[in-house]
């Protein structure tokens, strides 16, 4: 079925539970328009990874379950799908922490991404060359064992591997975690390039609010399993509350969104 709507991903009011008792997401709704980059921002434990795993249907392997709401990908519900079917439909997740296959070479890692596609040897080589044109650094290291590459290279391997599955949409879970600023910029440049040249829609979970928003079209901020704020990347970057809470431009100590909202409503009452 073709999808004429402008959103490739449409999450409506989902609630997620782990082990039938732990409520990880209360109420998350978000949309990813086709061909756009959307950032999902929030602190540790806010529910970013859980949201991504709900979309890629990888929750089941962690005993998680979407208990309310709906997720539509490319116009169809993903309810009955499993992770390998989702990859077949063009939705690939790059897991948090890179998760390369350490004993495989860099090139074997990347080729493994094409597992779900039926490609001849020649096709694979052609695809590889295309992938290497984005990840020049990996081409030099193609014969090295992945476990012995640097953190930045491993992140590139993980993204390159996902690209090998020819995704329509990528879910990136904290791609810059633990990387030096220079590498963070390099990774984001590649992500942006993949988005523009390959037309891949991207949902990006990040803690690195500033650089994530600078490379996105739209952003959602979640806290304790709830969407607290959303808007275009530009509007979020210029939002005073976001500046104060997530960009570290503040006179006072750390607060979270709930405190700010509470303060605001108090102020309203006083006025």
């Amino acid at each position: 079925m073709s999808n004429n709507s402008i959103n490739i991903l449409d999450i409506k009011n989902i609630e997620v539970m782990y082990d039938n008792v732990i409520l990880a997401l209360h109420d998350v709704s978000l949309k990813v328009p086709k061909g756009k980059v959307v950032a999902l921002l929030g602190a540790n434990g806010a529910g970013k990874s859980t949201t991504l795993k709900a979309v890629s249907t990888m929750l089941a392997s962690e005993r998680g379950k979407v208990t309310k709401g709906s997720i539509d990908y490319d116009g169809n519900s993903i309810e009955k799908q499993n992770p390998s079917q989702m990859v077949g439909l063009g939705m690939v997740q790059v897991l948090e922490g890179r998760r390369c296959f350490g004993h495989l070479t860099v090139e074997e890692n990347i080729i493994s991404g094409a597992y779900s596609r039926k490609l001849s040897k020649g096709d694979i080589d052609q695809e590889l060359e295309k992938i290497y044109s984005y990840f020049l650094r990996l081409k030099e290291r193609r014969k090295s064992q992945a476990a012995f590459t640097s953190g930045g290279e491993q992140q590139m391997i993980a993204v390159a591997r996902a690209m090998m599955a020819k995704p329509k949409m990528l879910l990136l879970d904290e791609p810059t975690m633990g990387l030096a600023p220079q590498l963070v910029a390099e990774i984001f440049n590649i992500v942006k390039e993949l988005n523009q040249k390959e037309g891949v829609s991207i949902l990006l979970a990040e803690q690195n609010t500033n650089i994530a928003l600078k490379n996105s079209d739209y952003g959602y901020i979640i806290e304790t399993g709830k969407v607290m704020l959303e808007g275009t990347a530009e509007s979020l970057l210029n939002n005073d509350k976001v500046k104060e809470l997530y960009l570290g431009i503040s006179k006072k100590g750390r607060k979270n969104f709930r405190d700010v909202l509470k303060e605001e409503s108090l102020n309203k009452k006083i006025n």
Partner: protein
């Protein structure tokens, strides 16, 4: 002096070749350990089940050797299929310990099924290869080496080369190595875990069949094969649970060491130390090199 050296060589070569029989059994364990990080306690039962079925096909139905082998191998693929569908898939998100317990249960089911289908008496298996010294080698090299041992060595070598090629150069082999490294990441890029599980369980089944045929030809096809497979445990502790070369070399070491100890040190203990000497060796490995000779180094962050 020359005679003593010759005798030592004979013990050593005999031991090494006998060790390949252990290697064959250990190979089955490694395959499954690689894919699911579980020690498959039913491997011994799979050896017994497969070779008993093979004997049954040959002796009860008069099916020729090659066809009986193909049928038995096919049966093991079916067993792999059922195991994946009925045992592994429902336990997909369960802990490794749960899967371990399930393999013990699976072992009992296979033992029971085998005996229900083919009877409980010991069967003789004649592969047409005698378990006696090869005259040509005895004449020319003055070594007394059993033809069955040599065959087992050759068969083990062929299987290892076959498995190596399968893992290194095929797509499904790449998938298997990916799953062995990180099953979660493998599933995130669309490698279907159930296909990989089916592959390893079938391969382990066929390896069990070959190992069973070798052991059955030597010791008779009987229930004791189940326990004999546990000899693979010290082999794996020495070689490393996740390494195919480790299984081979571990088997060779166990085979050689137990024969040498039996001949030279055995008399001081009143003989028959072959049965427990490998376990003593295994304990030393557990103390000083728990990952085995070729196992993946166990890295833990402190």
């Amino acid at each position: 002096m020359a005679n003593e050296l010759l005798f030592f060589m004979e013990v050593l070569v005999g031991g090494l070749l006998a060790g390949t029989m252990y290697s064959l059994v250990a190979l089955g364990f490694v395959l499954i350990f690689k894919a699911s990080a579980t020690f498959n306690f039913s491997q011994g039962a799979m050896v017994f089940f497969s070779v008993l079925a093979f004997c049954g096909f040959m002796q009860d139905f008069n099916i020729p050797f090659v066809l009986a082998f193909i049928l038995a191998a096919f049966l093991m693929v079916v067993v792999g299929l059922c195991t994946e569908r009925l045992v592994l898939r429902p336990l997909m998100n369960a802990s490794e310990d749960t899967v371990l317990m399930a393999t013990i249960g699976l072992g009992y089911v296979l033992e029971g099924l085998a005996q229900a289908a083919w009877g409980v008496e010991v069967r003789r298996l004649d592969l047409g290869i005698g378990d006696f010294p090869v005259p040509w080698i005895a004449d020319n090299l003055k070594l007394f080496i059993s033809a069955l041992d040599i065959t087992a060595g050759l068969v083990a070598a062929i299987m290892i080369i076959g498995l190596f090629l399968l893992f290194k150069y095929t797509k499904i082999g790449l998938g298997l190595r990916a799953v062995a490294d990180d099953a979660g990441a493998a599933s995130s890029i669309g490698i279907p875990l159930k296909h990989i599980m089916l592959l390893v369980w079938s391969a382990a089944g066929v390896v069990a069949l070959v190992a069973g045929m070798m052991w059955g030809a030597r010791a008779g096809v009987q229930f004791a094969l189940v326990d004999l497979a546990l000899k693979a445990l010290p082999v794996l502790i020495i070689g490393g649970f996740s390494s195919i070369p480790g299984a081979i070399i571990g088997g060779l070491i166990i085979g050689a060491v137990e024969k040498i100890l039996e001949v030279y040190i055995g008399p001081f203990f009143g003989g028959a130390i072959e049965g427990w000497a490998p376990y003593v060796l295994a304990i030393f490995f557990l103390l000083y090199r728990p990952e085995g000779l070729f196992g993946e180094k166990i890295i833990r962050r402190v």
